[in-house]
C-alpha cells in the first residue's frame, strides 16, 4: 500500500528503507526542524542564563572597582549577548514574529496589528519564558512605566488576550496563581524551575 509523505508516493519497500533516510535528512536540514518540542528546553536554559547573569550582576555591583569585577564584566557581556540570541531564537521557534517598528504580530501565516503597548508586552513575555511576572513588574520591565496601576495592567492583558484570539493564540498568556502572568507551557513556561 503506497504511503504519502513530503508530497510524494512511496511503495512499501521505499517507505521502509528510503523514508527513514529522507526523514533523517530533512531533520538535519538547516533551520527546517522547527519543532515546538524543543521550546521548553530553550526556555529552560534561558532561565539558567538569566540566573547566571543575575549572579554576575550582583557580584559586579558588590565588588565594583576591583580587578575581579572588571574581568567579570567581560563575561557578563558575553552572557547578555547569548541571552539575547536565545530569546530571539525562542520567539522564532514558537513561530511568533513581532515587528517592533509597526507593531505587527505574525503567527501561523496570519498577521495582526497591535498597539505599541500590546506589542511590547507580548514581546517581553516571549523573551522571558518560564517566569511569571506581577502587574508591577510588567509595568516597570515591559513598559518602563512604574506609574501604571495593577488594574490598568490587567486591562491591557485582557485586551491583548482577546486580540490574540484572532490569530489562534488566545491561550498564550496564562495567569500563574499568586505569581502573575506568563507564557503558556507550550511556549516554554513550565512548572520546573
Amino acid at each position: 500500500m503506497p504511503v504519502r509523505a513530503f508530497g510524494c508516493r512511496f511503495n512499501d519497500v521505499e517507505a521502509r528503507v528510503v523514508l527513514p533516510e529522507v526523514k533523517r535528512a530533512w531533520a538535519d536540514f538547516p533551520g527546517e526542524d522547527v519543532t515546538t518540542s524543543v521550546l521548553p528546553e530553550v526556555a529552560g536554559w534561558i532561565a539558567i542564563y538569566e540566573e547566571l547573569a543575575s549572579v554576575l550582576r550582583s557580584v559586579i555591583a558588590r565588588a565594583d572597582g576591583t580587578e575581579e569585577a572588571a574581568q567579570l564584566q567581560t563575561s557578563l557581556l558575553w552572557i547578555d549577548d547569548r541571552l539575547a540570541m536565545w530569546r530571539d531564537r525562542h520567539a522564532e521557534l514558537a513561530g511568533v514574529v513581532i515587528d517592533r517598528v509597526d507593531h505587527t504580530l505574525t503567527y501561523g501565516g496570519k498577521s495582526l496589528r497591535l498597539t505599541r503597548r500590546e506589542a511590547d508586552l507580548l514581546d517581553f513575555l516571549l523573551r522571558h519564558p518560564r517566569r511569571p511576572f506581577t502587574s508591577k513588574q510588567l509595568a516597570t520591565l515591559a513598559w518602563h512605566n512604574s506609574r501604571l496601576s495593577d488594574a490598568q495592567v490587567r486591562t491591557y492583558i485582557m485586551r491583548l488576550r482577546s486580540r490574540l484570539r484572532e490569530v489562534g493564540l488566545e491561550e498564550v498568556i496564562t495567569v500563574v496563581r499568586n505569581r502573575g502572568y506568563g507564557i503558556a507551557a507550550a511556549m516554554g513556561l513550565g512548572a520546573e524551575r
Binding site: G31, T35, S37, V38, L52, S58, R62, A63, S75, W86
Partner: protein
C-alpha cells in the same frame, strides 16, 4: 577609626550569625556521625541524615547571606561568589549538552559554542576560587 576597632555593621552581623549557625550544625553533625560510627543504630542514622540536610540548608543560607550582604572585602565572599558562578555555569552547560542532539541544526552549533565557552568560564572561575581561598588562608 582603624579596621580593628570598626564596629560590625548590620550586614556583617547577619553574615556572622549565619556562619555561627552553620558552624554549630557542622559540630552537631560531626558529633552524631562519630556516635553513629561507634553505635550504628537506625534511630541515629535518621538523626544523622536529618542533621546533614540541616547543615546543607545552613550552608546555603550562609552563602546567600554573603552574596546578598557581603562585599569584595568580606572574608570568604569571593570563594562563595565564584562557587555560585561555577555551579550555575555547570548546570547550564550540562543542560545545553543534554538536549543539543534534539535541536535544529543551527541551534546545535550555537549550543555547542555556548558549552565550550561556559566550560572555559567555569574553569577560569574554579581557578579564581583556588586563588581566593589561598588569599583568605
Amino acid at each position: 577609626m582603624t579596621e580593628l576597632t570598626r564596629p560590625p555593621t548590620i550586614p556583617d552581623s547577619l553574615i556572622s550569625s549565619r556562619l555561627l549557625m552553620l558552624q554549630s550544625k557542622r559540630l552537631i553533625l560531626a558529633s552524631l556521625e562519630r556516635r553513629f560510627r561507634k553505635q550504628p543504630l537506625e534511630s541515629l542514622r535518621a538523626r544523622v541524615d536529618h542533621t546533614r540536610q540541616e547543615t546543607l540548608n545552613a550552608h546555603e543560607r550562609y552563602c546567600l547571606s554573603l552574596l546578598t550582604w557581603g562585599t569584595g572585602e568580606t572574608p570568604h565572599y569571593w570563594p562563595v561568589a565564584y562557587g555560585r558562578l561555577v555551579d550555575t555555569a555547570d548546570r547550564l552547560s550540562s543542560k545545553l549538552r543534554g538536549v543539543a542532539r534534539d535541536l535544529p541544526y543551527p541551534d546545535r552549533y550555537q549550543a555547542a559554542t555556548d558549552v565550550e565557552m561556559l566550560e572555559t568560564l567555569a574553569e577560569r572561575w574554579r581557578q579564581s576560587i583556588r586563588t581566593s581561598i589561598t588569599a583568605v588562608a
